[in-house]
Every structure is written in structure tokens, then in C-alpha cells.
């Protein structure tokens, strides 16, 4: 067990398959024990990356170009750490949630193991074909999770999600075929020095195909059409997982290729296009979120808006001074981390409130402030993070992004970011206002187990403490 890298892939695969053998709905305790071990492994790995920079691992002793290399740098370490910090409280939450018997647990635990194995491999992959395989694994596991409830709504959402994710990875693979045809390799380390400013039509086409495939999976406007039904229709722990982590995986790949493989092709025009789509996503997602009557759909549309924020990063890191680009990069990564924690907490809190109300309807929320004060507090804090108010990680992210935009003179994006914050305040306060009204006389709230409320609070607590520990995250990021 000297090297944590292979164990981060093997362990979730093992407990995933083992809990499948245990049977439907079983394996929660096993999963949580293994998640604790994995968190320790990730901490060990991050320590190694900070101490000795990039870590490489040749699977089976065969290194690239013959074998498959795994590569962990600063960005990958941050994503791995984030994944495990989010997933452990969510696992405890999910175990308690499914014990309330509201939605079928199905094969939640085996699927969670497979999803985690896919995520970990994706973050560490160092060749574009291996990335394709992990994308497919991730997609299939995520689709399976969406369908665990087994009712018409979730099955429809799962099928739509499955078709989109298959289309996305198919288009991506076409790009891989063109790259292999041009250069005869799929290893990022081999390809990166080969791609220069003057590229052939095939490579240019490959870049576009891979970008479109990944954008479909990231659900950037106008590719967001599948997201609200999938994230809003899944069982709550799954919604939290998808919104917090799965979306980030394909965004991580876009960012990685933008900075690495396709850096010579990453022009300011392309960056402005992505930023523009992001700005539309912020407006459209926020307005749609405000118009929702169901709490989970509101949170899902809020994710559409927040994805827009991530893409504002591209114009700020392309063809600007290195200092401005570095600040923007830091802001972007803090934004990813803060959103993952806050959105997981928001979905988890929404799930607790829905469980207590017995129905997903914002209009029924009145009076919940006296019944579930901790959960409402969790929801409000998560909302404050999304708005980007101090003292949250969301504030630090926006502060860094805005100061980078100002220093590179891109005032338009500053306006979009401030407007987006105001719009998210709109839909968060819509929920809070309703929740703080006095209870209707006939409304009966079901009692809720505290083991459901505390993991959700823990997630916002971590996101809050991120504002004080953001330097540590940036240290890990800078280590690569």
C-alpha cells in the first residue's frame, strides 16, 4: 500500500461490486467505511503531490506510449480531495435518507462505487482514449443512479440523460480518432508538444468535436436541456452527487485541454464565445430557477446558472497577462470547490425539507423555519455561497475573478458576475421568504432524523471554512 494511486481506483470498484453482491439496498455501512479510507488515501496523495510536485504512475509497470499512464498534478489533487470531502457527508446523508423509505434505494451503493472509481480515474488520466473510457463509465454509472427510483419521471430523465451522454462521448471519440490518425498517439504527454499554432484541418476538427462532446456533458447553455429533468427527477442524494461532482468532471477536462493539449488553438475569440454562452446560461438559469414551484427543480436550474460562471473563466485566462491569468485560475478553482460544497448542501437541505413536508412544493414551505431551523440555516448558507457574499468561498472566488477581469480590462464580465450574484439572491430569497412565513394551520410536518440534518450542515460548514482555508487549496493547486 505504498502508493495510493491504484488503490483510489481499485478500492471503490471493489466495494461497489461487493455491495452489489450483498443485494438491493445493502452496502451502505461498507461504503462509508471505505469512503473514510479513501479520504485518508487522498490526503496521503495530496501530501505527496505538495512535497514532490507531479506524481506519475505506470499501470502494470508499462509506461506510455505502450501502457497507460496516470498523472496527478495540482489541479487533479484539488479535484480528488474535493470529490472525497463532498462524498463522505453525502454518503452518511444517503444512508439515513434511504432508511426513511421515500424513494427506492435500488442499487444506489454499487453504482456509487462505480461512479467514484470512474471519477478518480478520470481526474488522473493522462491519455485521451483513457479519458473516453472513464467518461463512458461515469456516464453509465450516473444514468443508473438517476434511474434508481424507477418511476416514470426518473426513467424518462435517465433515458434522456443516457442518450445525451452517449452522444457526447461518441462525438468526443470521433475527435480522438482524428487525433490518433494525425499523430499516432493518444498520450497527452506525447501529443502536447506536437500540436502547434498551424494545425491541419483534421486536428482543428478534432478539437471542435471533443469540445462539443464535453460541453454536452457539462450542460453549458444551450446544451443544458437534459440537466433539470435529470438532476431534479433523481432521488435527492443522487441529485446532490450529480450537481456537485459529475458536472465538474467534464468541465475539468475542458479546462485541462484548454490549458494543455489545445492551448495553441485556444484563441480569445473562442474564449469570448464560451464566456458569452456562460453569461446567457447565468441569466437563463437564474430566471428559470426563480420561476420554479418545486424546490429541487429550483436547485437544478441554479446549477445551470452556476455552470455559466465556470465558463466565464475562459476569457479571463486566454491571451491576458500571466498574473491576471493566474488570479483568474485561482478564482475559477475556488468557484468549483465552493459550488460543489454549496450545491451538495443545498440539495441535501432541500431533500430534508421535502421529506418533512411530504411533497416537493415551495408554497408549502411556510412554517418550516420553526420545525427545521438547522436545515433552513444550511439552505440559506448554501444560498449565500452561491450569491458570493462574504464570508464564504463563493465570495473569495468572485473577488479573485472580478479583480482578474479588472486588471485585464474586461469590464463586461464584471457586470455579468455582479448581475448573476443579484439574480441568485432572487431565487434564494424566494425560498427563504416562504420558509419564514408562519405555518398554515392544517400543515403537518413529519419529524426528521438528525442524522439527515447534520451531514448537510457539515457540507455548508466546510464551504464556510473554505473562506479561511482558501490559501491551502491554492497551495495544492500551485503544487503541480
Amino acid at each position: 500500500m505504498s502508493d495510493p494511486i491504484p488503490w483510489l481506483i481499485l478500492l471503490p470498484l471493489l466495494w461497489g461490486l461487493l455491495s452489489f453482491l450483498l443485494g438491493v439496498g445493502r452496502g451502505g455501512r461498507l461504503a462509508i467505511v471505505c469512503l473514510v479510507i479513501q479520504l485518508a488515501l487522498v490526503a496521503l496523495l495530496v501530501g505527496q503531490v505538495v512535497a514532490e510536485k507531479d506524481r506519475y504512475y505506470a499501470v502494470g509497470g508499462w509506461s506510455a506510449p505502450l501502457g497507460i499512464d496516470l498523472h496527478v498534478d495540482g489541479l487533479a489533487s484539488v479535484m480528488l480531495l474535493l470529490t472525497h470531502v463532498v462524498i463522505l457527508p453525502l454518503g452518511i446523508y444517503a444512508r439515513s435518507y434511504f432508511s426513511h423509505n421515500v424513494e427506492g434505494v435500488g442499487y444506489f451503493w454499487p453504482m456509487l462505487g462505480l461512479l467514484l472509481a470512474a471519477l478518480n480515474t478520470l481526474f488522473m488520466s493522462a491519455d485521451i482514449f483513457n479519458i473516453y473510457v472513464t467518461l463512458e463509465l461515469l456516464g453509465l454509472a450516473a444514468v443508473g443512479l438517476v434511474g434508481t427510483a424507477g418511476n416514470t419521471r426518473s426513467i424518462l430523465a435517465a433515458i434522456r440523460y443516457l442518450l445525451v451522454t452517449l452522444l457526447g462521448s461518441g462525438v468526443y471519440l470521433a475527435g480522438v480518432a482524428l487525433i490518433y490518425g494525425s499523430y499516432g498517439s493518444v498520450a497527452l504527454a506525447v501529443l502536447e508538444p506536437l500540436i502547434e499554432n498551424e494545425v491541419s484541418v483534421a486536428v482543428f476538427l478534432a478539437a471542435i468535436l471533443m469540445l462539443v462532446g464535453l460541453l454536452l456533458k457539462t450542460a453549458l447553455f444551450p446544451f443544458h436541456f437534459w440537466l433539470p429533468s435529470a438532476h431534479g427527477g433523481a432521488p435527492t442524494p443522487v441529485s446532490a452527487l450529480l450537481s456537485a461532482l459529475v458536472i465538474k468532471a467534464s468541465f475539468y477536462l475542458i479546462l485541462r485541454m484548454w490549458l494543455g493539449l489545445y492551448a495553441p488553438l485556444a484563441t480569445i475569440q473562442a474564449a469570448q464565445l464560451l464566456g458569452g454562452l456562460g453569461a446567457v446560461a447565468i441569466l437563463w438559469g437564474s430566471i428559470m430557477a426563480f420561476n420554479q414551484t418545486r424546490l429541487k427543480m429550483l436547485a437544478a436550474y441554479s446549477t445551470v446558472a452556476q455552470i455559466g460562471y465556470f465558463f466565464l473563466l475562459f476569457p479571463l485566462i486566454t491571451e491576458v497577462g500571466s498574473e491576471a491569468a493566474e488570479i483568474a485560475m485561482q478564482g475559477g478553482v475556488i468557484q468549483l470547490v465552493a459550488h460543489a460544497l454549496a450545491k451538495a448542501a443545498m440539495f441535501a437541505a432541500a431533500g430534508v425539507m421535502i421529506l418533512s413536508m411530504g411533497k416537493d412544493d415551495i408554497a408549502l414551505l411556510s412554517g418550516i423555519s420553526s420545525r427545521l431551523p438547522l436545515t433552513l440555516f444550511t439552505f440559506a448558507l448554501a444560498g449565500v455561497t452561491l450569491m458570493g457574499l462574504p464570508p464564504t468561498g463563493g465570495f473569495i472566488a468572485k473577488w479573485l475573478l472580478i479583480s482578474s477581469a479588472v486588471s485585464s480590462g474586461q469590464w463586461g464580465w464584471v457586470v455579468v458576475m455582479i448581475l448573476g450574484g443579484l439574480l441568485s439572491a432572487g431565487y434564494v430569497f424566494k425560498v427563504l421568504r416562504q420558509a419564514l412565513l408562519p405555518a398554515a394551520a392544517e400543515m403537518k410536518f413529519r419529524p426528521v432524523n438528525p442524522s439527515l440534518e447534520w451531514p448537510a450542515f457539515l457540507l455548508t460548514f466546510i464551504s464556510l471554512s473554505l473562506s479561511f482555508a482558501s490559501n491551502n487549496v491554492l497551495n495544492i493547486l500551485g503544487a503541480g
Binding site: G170, V171, Y180
Partner: protein, 121 residues
Amino acid sequence: MTGALIYACVGAALFVCGVAGLILLPHLLRKILAFNIMGSGVFLMLVGLGQHDNIPDPIPQAMVLTGIVVAVAATALALAFVRRLLYLTSKAQFVANSKSLDQTEEKLITRERNKEGDASK
């Protein structure tokens, strides 16, 4: 035009047909078939573009084998979901999209709420 390039071009044509079918065809079974055609097109492109001077390259062949395994798994999952949908709605199409599902559920909620309101009067 070399033989390898012909394979790649046929593959590209199949890929485009598959993508069009996946997006345009309404029946879910046809969508799944279209996905398989799209996948085969990409595999043909991989093998075709991987050849140099008519000497086959083993690496893309290994990649295609992996891709076929993934495609089979994805097809099986898709078919299982479509069967479940057929069982629940007796249709294999996106007839009731989730928006109209939301609307029917909202109507149910408002109707119930109105009833409750009437009862309390």
C-alpha cells in the same frame, strides 16, 4: 485515395448518419440503433485512420475492442431502461416529456390545495 482513407470516409458518413438519427428519430429503439451506427462509424474511422501504408496498427484495434465493450454495455443499459418505460407507460417514446409531467403534477397539487381550502371554509 488509399484503401485506409476510404474506410475512414465511410466511417465519417456512418457517424454523421448515426448522430442525425440519434437526434431526429422519435422512437427510442431507433435512437439506440442510431447510437450503435454512430459508434461503428467512429470505430471504422479509428481503424481506417490508424493504418499507414496499408500496414494495420494494433493500437487502434485494441481501442476499438474496448469501445465495442463499452457500446454493448451502454446498449444493454439503454434497452433495460426502455423496457421499464414501456412497462410503465406502454410507449417507447418521449411522449410525456418531463415538462408536461411537471404540469400534471402541479395541477394535482393545486387541485388538492383547492380541495383543502374548500374543506377549511
